[in-house]
Amino acid sequence: MKQETKLSTGQQHEQTAEAQTVKTTPQQFENVEQLLRYDAAQTPVPPEIASRLNRSVEQSPPPRRPWWRRIFGGG
């Protein structure tokens, strides 16, 4: 979307050579955004957050009715 991802011929050769020679293929990222996107994809959200949210929502008091509704009623 935002970044050019074209590799120069030299870079393409280098990548291919590396991929062929090393089993644990070295990662190569064209730019910082690509690297961060890869990192984000490898970073799962801890499931504890959802359970904490659940508890917080259940413990939250219901929203207070505005003063005019408390006095005059309605809604």
């Binding site: 979307m1 935002k2 870079q11 644990t24 070295p26 990662q27 190569q28 990222f29 064209e30 730019n31 910082v32 955004e33 690509q34 690297l35 961060l36 996107r37 890869y38 990192d39 984000a40 490898q42 970073t43 799962p44 959200v45 801890p46 499931p47 504890e48 957050i49 959802a50 359970s51 904490r52 949210l53 659940n54 917080s56 929502v57 259940e58 939250s60």
Partner: protein, 185 residues
């Protein structure tokens, strides 16, 4: 890298049910992006967990204020950025880095080169170390721009600057990141 933990594809998959349907929907669609921003911006998994929880709780409480003028992702990012910035308002963090306009960040890299790593094992730690060494403004810009759902205009709105300013600063931020990342090897 951070401690591995399985991310549920949805809350239901994890056997969880969030009391509010709105929150559940928001959480399923955006929790990964918000958690990642908090994690890499704050640099601490526990703080990031707390921040993500607080952001979604705030979102639920302010849900009536969300009018759909921006995307839900942008709206959540705004809450998250404010929250993370508030957490960082300590003397130490305010004085730790030179301003991003400082020429020091111009001198750190000769150019942008592909970022190569040999192992993915330590990648998270290296990325965190590099981001921690950047001015918070650069760190935030890089994190936001790496989200493909955001345009430069949206990043500009979130960081209160024009999209041209975003592009200019982004160029310097990328160079600074690349240089620091190479040194972290």
């Amino acid at each position: 890298m951070n401690a591995p933990c399985e991310a549920p594809a949805s809350l239901e998959a994890a056997g969880l049910r969030i009391a509010s349907a709105e929150l559940s929907e928001l959480y399923t669609a955006h929790s990964r992006a918000i958690y990642y921003l908090a994690l890499r911006f704050l640099g601490d998994p526990q703080k990031a967990e707390d921040a993500t929880h607080d952001v979604f709780l705030k979102a639920l409480r302010k849900f009536d204020q969300f009018r759909g003028e921006s995307s839900a992702r942008t709206w959540l990012y705004r809450i998250a950025i404010n929250h993370c910035r508030n957490l960082q308002q300590t003397w130490h963090e305010r004085h730790m880095f030179p301003n991003s306009d400082s020429p020091i960040w111009e001198q750190t890299a000769a150019g942008e080169s592909p970022l190569r790593i040999l192992e993915t094992k330590e990648l998270g730690a290296r990325i965190q170390k590099t981001l921690d060494a950047l001015p918070p403004e650069y760190r935030l810009l890089l994190l936001l721009v790496s989200d493909q759902e955001l345009s430069y205009e949206q990043v500009g709105l979130l960081t209160e600057q024009s999209s041209d300013a975003v592009r200019g600063k982004l160029h310097r931020a990328r160079k600074a990141f690349a240089a620091l990342f190479a040194k972290s090897e």
